[in-house]
Amino acid sequence: MNPSNPPQTAEYGGVTIHPSSLEHLLTYVASRLDEVSAIVLDPGYSTTRAGFAGEDAPKSLIPTYYGKYNADGQEKLIFGDDVFVTPRPGLSVHNPIGRDGIVEDWDMAEKVWEYSFTSRLTGAKASDPFHNGLNEIPSEELPTEMEVEADEKPLADSPLLMTEPGWNPAKAREKTIEIAMEKWGTPAFYLARNGVLSAFASGKASALVIDIGASNISITPVHDGMILKRGVQHSPLGGDYISSQIQAFSKTAVEAGQPPQAKYKTFPADKAPDASYRSLLEERTISEFKECVVQVWAGPNKLSATGPNGVSNEEVARTTPGRPFEFPDGYNQVFGVDRFRVTESLFDAKAAIPDPDSPFPAPTPSQTLPELIKASLAAVDVDLRPHLLANVVVTGASSLLYGFTDRLNHELMALYPGPRVRISAPGNTAERRFGSWIGGSILASLGTFHQMWISKKEYDEHGPNIVEKRCK
């Protein structure tokens, strides 16, 4: 059955709905609105996660990237997974969020986020039930006193909880609540720091949250449920940076495997998609490579250091069994020590593989994880440090790199030999990838959370600045 065609009367069992029963139906629907779950929206640089509060995982997971192309002189946009599918002529790929995790293009961020919930959660905007073809009512029986709101906003029925990085500036926070209230018409809103949500999800009100995302790695100290702003540190050495390292090393790969035997699709110059489409798809393949092959040298010490019995760590890494990977073009290879090299610069800036073509400048020592942690802890009260080190929470999809938490543990113990260091990292992949979404989902589903929401009325009274006062 084609869902876009209205069902015939026969499909309702031959029963014609009478206006009075329709009214009953509408009252019923209105009474159910109290039970509508809140929507939780966790926007990241690489993916945007959205879903109903109270559920275990976000139902809607879409790329934050969107596509733009021209057809018949009109600009067209593509959202969601469709962006990967068809290489339309002139298709270019963009991201509304900047590499630092802060929104750059608000108009497009609004559209991408809106797509994340309207595509899978709330459905398209409701149309007038008397004119959408679903109800056949003879015109003389149309009740005149009923008014249907002509322009219903997409979130008119759902409270919305959104997450944000700890370094989101006040202007961006105000802009976010403005979109939620005015464009989407949400009746209630809350903006939560993702560091706090990740800490809470591990059962801790105070923790040092280490988040390894696609565009950023960040350190967020949380104390008594509040982020310690001075201690928030972030740098661009995230998953996308690791991908750029993989590209850099694959250019210099020494032992060649079988040459690829693929037949490539070619485009005439005027039909070709933009280079940004190619890099998006390359990134997809590299992500797969990252998940299957890449590993972090687990320590102790750097990959370049020499172990206790005079054998260099690189030699030890070389003796571990390699891992095979086949690229889509048929090129395949067993990767040995190289699979450790591509992640080493997260901990040791000198180990970065140089690549003049990379969009990422060579990392500076201060961007590496150990230095970020040092800077973060140096900015918080001395008495809090041992407590934070005893409660390190690791989250973010790129922290799932094999060996990552072991290495982090070794680095922390080398930096702070005195206090006890304890890392808690959920073993469950979904909890690591969606940590802050899951935290938001639980909070927003609690009946008692209603006192935290910023209502539309409060927003109208105080303006967007209310978010600064209420969502600390």
Partner: protein
Amino acid sequence: MSLASGVTVTDECINKFNEFRLSHGKIKYIIFKISDDKKTVVVDDFGAESDYEVFLYDVEYDLGGGEGKRSKIIFISWVPTNVPTLWSMIYASTRENLRNALNVANSIHADDKSEIEWKAVLKEASGGKAN
């Protein structure tokens, strides 16, 4: 106002706490927990061994050097790592509410038994002076 679950602290908790505070060591501890409907914090006095809970412990310690015995109330939150995320989240986001309602300054968060060994508790209670 920091991000919080909004779970409320019942008067029963406050009353019991005041009784505890004024009992001069007769009551040694109170255990609190969040009710199963996730709406309020209640006293779980009789709870022998619960999976996750918050409790107060009146620590008596001797500073030595003729300063006599002191006692201090310690707020301990106990959320082990194997607790389901749902309850971890609710306990963590309610902790500050309860601590502020009771106004206890010294606190320990523990997810492992080693963190609530006598030595660690004594250190927190005495501000590192007694050992």
